[in-house]
């Protein structure tokens, strides 16, 4: 598999995806087309209510809900905004998120899948009709009747084979042109030889025609291809939706007013407004406003950084408190975010060298079949000096050995396994991801946003007395800063009553201040309240002239993180924790989860290097990470997983995406992957067993079309049934 194809499958190259919006240049979203993601809809009533609610809104021409994709597409006048539509749906009581139609439109219809399905249907139709005629021949139709049946079969099979087999012929041709052999070469040869010898036999009113075998072969192989395609299509469209959720738009200051623009239109020197809670779209310098920046996706640090005029910011950082005006110094492909993603492209080329089990089987199989069939031809020709007999036997050998079961062996298993993992909330994006997952013996975790939820939790509420709690709660409620919200949550749960604080004002980047009676109270950064900063994540409360009190926080564990790590350790996997965060934070988490091997303060390049070193020592590394600082490591690892909350670039670089917030399916994924691999090898053995029985018959010239049909169907069905054992709903 070439790098180019892998990129397609992973939907856009990671480099493009890292820079928000650069890949949307040519697909301008059509005016009036709005797409919403509706993750909570589930029944007919939901469909009716949302469709009726949306259509009733002025300016909406039509609205259609798709329950399978949990999406609504709305056709509306140009002045209807997506935010308005989100408001309407939320007013009806459903969760709604705007999707970027540009990202969705690019691949809206699954053309390739539809094409395969059409060919599969034609092949199925032709196979049934030809089989009907063949059964009459096998059960004793004779002379003129047999000839007529053979001719009718030919009339159906010839065009059907010519139309349905096109994907195989194309692949075989491109492989041959590059001087390689793949699975499609013997398939094409078998089909062609079967049709030619059968035509010849029919013309000479011979007994045996293989039309049914030729078309059945094409049908079974197409079924395998279609399954394979469906699995990846489901993963691709879900991954695409995650990308489309991040609408690449920014607010640019034009003549003193704010105008919403696609990020692709921004230029160096533009002044961009970044609101509190929004992601910085460009590299640049702050020219106005103070705030705090969350850089955890870029560096793994959990402590927000102060931001004020003159300071440089990078694309991908999240603005926490106050609005910032930024003069862009680099946009699109020039941003540091994008350059970081270039590391991925380099690391990634290594993974495409992985040869899947199917490829390895094909490498052994394709030459073997050709040699066997050629030997049968030469042997029989020398023995009988009859071209017709020799060719018939060579064709029979090719048909009987043909990789029906081999073609189904891998896709049937990956479909079953991916389906099972999908129900657990895991999205298998890459086709060989399952095989690579089964080989994993070392798991490397990122900390912030992966093992932890990225949400701070107050740890020392008990240092405050009741009066102080009331003041802290009142001040914390005055801000949307994550630490303030953590205080409000913790104290609210402890049933503290907010004190009467007057004149509450947020000073973006510093904290919140107010007055209790004639005492000034402050909650915020160490320097601002006049406290000694401590090493942990903390904010400080100062009441009047009293000494400031430090309120410390820790990052809450992601649900399932503990179970996942315990299960992995119990399964004898080596578990590492590699984070860009400070040592105390990393050490505390490692000790809590029982991880012995950890690194703190690691730079992005070093993360990739650590993974590469482990790989050099012969370990098969599974990297689990979410930030931009993890992308290079994700790409360098043997196989990689990222949570749905990860940065787009990280998701693109990883093979598996965890859809929920829960980490616990992780350990199970490894178990399912190992089972899947076992089923695949079993399937190969089953297919080989059939060949061992049938090939001597074919070489000895004893194979009839009936035996060929039986062997082909029986092996395909056993292989599929064996694969189905995996999908069992029982755990």
């Amino acid at each position: 598999m070439t790098v180019a194809i892998r990129h397609q499958a992973a939907m856009g190259c990671p480099a493009c995806a890292a820079a928000p919006g650069v890949d949307d240049v040519e697909v301008a979203p059509e005016a009036g087309q709005i797409a919403l993601s509706l993750p909570t809809i589930h029944c007919a009533a939901c469909i009716s209510r949302i469709e009726d609610g949306l259509t009733a809104h002025p300016g909406v021409r039509s609205a259609r809900v798709n329950l399978t994709l949990k999406r609504a597409s709305i056709d509306a006048d140009a002045d209807v905004t997506p935010a308005e539509m989100v408001g309407v749906v939320e007013g009806l009581g459903y969760e709604a998120h705007e999707l970027d139609p540009g990202t969705l439109n690019a691949t809206a219809t699954d053309k390739a899948g539809r094409d395969l399905l059409m060919r599969l249907a034609v092949a199925g139709f032709a196979m049934m009709n030809v089989m009907l005629l063949s059964v009459s021949v096998w059960s004793g139709a004779d002379d003129a009747t047999r000839d007529m049946f053979h001719w009718i079969s030919a009339a159906i099979a010839l065009p059907a084979v010519a139309f349905c087999g096109v994907p195989f012929y194309r692949n075989a041709w491109s492989a041959l042109r590059q001087g390689r052999l793949n699975m499609d070469v013997p398939i094409t040869l078998a089909v062609a030889l079967a049709v030619v010898t059968s035509l010849w036999e029919t013309a000479l009113s011979g007994h045996h025609a293989y039309f049914d075998a030729a078309i059945a072969l094409v049908f079974f192989l197409l079924a395998g291809r279609y399954l394979d395609h469906r699995t990846r299509e489901v993963a691709r469209s879900a991954a695409e939706e995650l990308t489309a959720l991040e609408v690449p738009r920014a607010w640019r200051i034009e003549d003193g007013t704010e105008v919403e623009r696609p990020i692709a239109e921004l230029a160096v020197g533009d002044v961009v407004l970044v609101r509190a809670g929004a992601r910085v779209p460009v590299d640049g310098e702050i020219i106005d406003g103070t705030s705090e920046l969350d850089r955890s996706l870029l560096t793994g640090e959990t402590v927000p950084v102060f931001a004020g005029p003159g300071q440089a910011v990078s694309a991908g950082e999240v603005n926490l408190t106050g609005p910032l005006r930024i003069r862009a110094s680099a946009v699109g492909a020039e941003t540091s975010l994008h350059r970081m993603a270039d590391l991925v492209a380099i690391a990634e080329s290594g993974r495409s060298l992985y040869t899947s089990l199917a490829d390895r089987a094909a490498k052994l199989y394709a030459p073997g079949v050709h040699i066997l069939s050629a030997l049968a031809f030469v042997g029989w020709f020398l023995y009988t000096f009859d071209m017709r007999t020799a060719l018939n036997i060579a064709a029979a050998v090719l048909i009987i050995t043909c990789p029906c079961a081999l073609g189904l062996a891998v896709p049937a298993v990956t479909t079953a396994a991916s389906g099972r993992l999908f129900r657990k909330g895991m999205l298998i994006k890459h086709e060989t991801a399952l095989e690579r997952l089964s080989e994993v013996d070392t798991v490397v975790f990122d900390k912030t946003g992966t093992l932890t939820a990225g949400v701070p939790v107050l740890t020392n509420a008990d240092v405050l007395d009741d009066a102080a709690r009331g003041v802290a709660l009142a001040l914390a409620q005055g801000s949307a800063h994550p630490l303030a919200r953590a205080i409000a949550n913790a104290l609210g749960e402890a049933e503290a009553k907010p004190a009467e604080v007057t004149g509450i004002a947020e000073v973006p980047g510093y904290g919140v201040s107010g007055r209790v009676g004639d005492l000034e109270v402050r909650l915020g950064r160490a320097a601002w309240v006049g406290a000694e900063p401590c090493s942990e994540t903390a904010t400080y409360l100062k009441i009047g002239k009293a000494a400031p009190v430090a309120l410390t926080f820790e990052d809450a564990l992601r649900p399932g993180a503990e179970e996942a790590v315990t299960a992995l350790l119990r399964a004898d996997k080596a578990v590492w924790l590699v984070s860009g965060d400070t040592e105390p934070a990393v050490k505390a988490l490692a000790e809590r989860l029982g991880i012995a091997a950890w690194h703190a303060g690691v730079l992005p390049e070093d993360k990739a290097r650590i993974v590469a070193e482990l790989s050099d020592q012969g370990a098969h590394v599974l990297m689990v990470g979410d930030g931009l600082n993890d992308t290079a490591a994700l790409a360098a690892a043997h196989v990689s997983i990222s949570p749905a909350s990860a940065l787009d670039a990280a998701r693109v670089a990883s093979d598996v995406v965890l859809l929920g917030t829960d980490l616990s399916p992780l350990a199970e994924a490894l178990v399912v992957a190992r089972k899947a691999r076992r089923r695949i090898t079993e399937n190969f053995r089953l297919a080989t067993l059939y060949n061992i029985i049938a090939v001597p018959l074919a070489v000895a010239g004893l194979a009839t079309p009936l035996i060929a049909a039986l062997a082909m169907s029986a092996s395909s069905i056993t292989v599929s049934l064996n694969a189905l054992r995996l999908s069992g709903r029982r755990a």
């Binding site: 029944c43 007919a44 009533a45 469909i47 009716s48 809900v65 798709n66 329950l67 399978t68 994709l69 539809r114 399905l117 059409m118 249907a121 034609v122 139709f125 049934m128 009709n129 009907l132 005629l133 009747t145 007529m148 009718i152 159906i156």
Partner: protein, 52 residues
């Protein structure tokens, strides 16, 4: 055996019709939302006549 002259064309035509219908359903996007289609029949709107 003359019966074959009728039966074979009939079986081919019927099969072909099925195939043609299938092709039509694929072309007109009828497999885009299988879950939604299954749920939509449970709605009480448009039951008496087709939606205009």
């Amino acid at each position: 055996m003359t019966i074959l002259a009728y039966l074979i064309p009939i079986s081919l035509i019927l099969g072909g019709l099925g195939l043609a219908f299938f092709v039509w359903t694929v072309r007109s996007n009828q497999y885009d939302d299988p879950e939604g289609n299954a749920q939509r029949i449970l709605r009480d709107t448009y039951d008496d006549k087709p939606k205009r």
